[in-house]
Amino acid sequence: MTDQLSRVFAALADPTRRDMVARLAEADHTVGDLAEPYDVSLQAVSKHLKVLEDAGLVTRTREAQRRPVHLEAEVFDLMTKWIERYRRQAEERFSRLDAVLARMQDDENPTDRPSAQEGTAS
């Protein structure tokens, strides 16, 4: 179980699987529906689905004849939320770094301009 989250990341590392997840975020689909836009065999699509299932990202209804594929939004949202928040924190830090770099450049190339703009990234 400890490796489950890594499986989620690995599952989402493939562009076809990311695209499947994006489509499943809108609605459930049968395997046939899902496979249609891709230029790969039904077998390849089933393999992709198996990876998504093993990661806990999608489930398939056992009862229904057509066994539609369903996105487990809870797991998916959690991952994307974590990653996006981490990215945002890094971006905040890098914005501050932008400002520091801009000040460094002003110090290295002093111009006749009054430095009222100091501290704001151009």
Partner: protein
């Protein structure tokens, strides 16, 4: 974009791009800066400059030890606020490689003193006055990496595992 190769140089990263590596417990970040590699390097190695951007805005970080040379080490305390309560958190590590195009260091959050990540930062000259930063943080384990990613979240790594456990128990997986 795969993690094993540098992203295509036609891609631009005006904002930070992030990837949780699917094959090793690492986090990648890419970001382009309007600066030379030398300037970006200085902003990472000069004590005063580093203090200006590493910590929260208006607060910064107290750098309590700084020796940005190969074999040197660093330590700083950052101040944060959570529910209007101020708190302090500190980090330390060692510089392994300090080169104008590459910094390699260890990174430990003092709240988990046995955990250590290996951080590699490369500064790639894009040739148009801009430089690309690529930072890789390689953690001890996938669990540690995931804990990092979810740190400070209201719904943390344990809730994530619990959600998956619940699905397993329901026979959904």
């Amino acid at each position: 974009m795969t993690s094993t190769q540098s992203p295509d140089t036609t891609t631009r990263y005006p904002e930070a791009a992030i990837e949780a590596d699917p094959t090793v417990p690492a986090i990648h970040i890419w970001r382009d800066f309007a600066a030379t590699p030398a300037q970006l390097f200085r902003a990472h190695t000069d004590r005063e400059l580093f203090a200006q951007w590493v910590g929260p805005v208006g607060v910064g970080a107290d750098i309590t030890h700084w020796d940005a040379r190969e074999g040197g080490s660093w330590r700083y305390t950052a101040h944060g606020e959570h529910d209007r309560e101020g708190f302090e958190t500190s980090f330390h590590g060692c510089f392994h490689t300090v080169r104008e195009d590459r910094i390699v260091q260890t990174f430990t959050w003092d709240g988990m003193p046995d955990g250590v990540a290996l951080e590699t930062m490369t500064f790639e000259d894009l040739g148009d006055g801009r430089t690309r930063l690529h930072a890789v943080s390689l953690c001890d384990s996938f669990e540690d990496r995931d804990a990092w990613l979810s740190s400070g979240m209201e719904v943390g790594v344990n809730d994530g595992y619990a959600a998956i456990d619940r699905l397993l128990a329901e026979g959904a997986l």
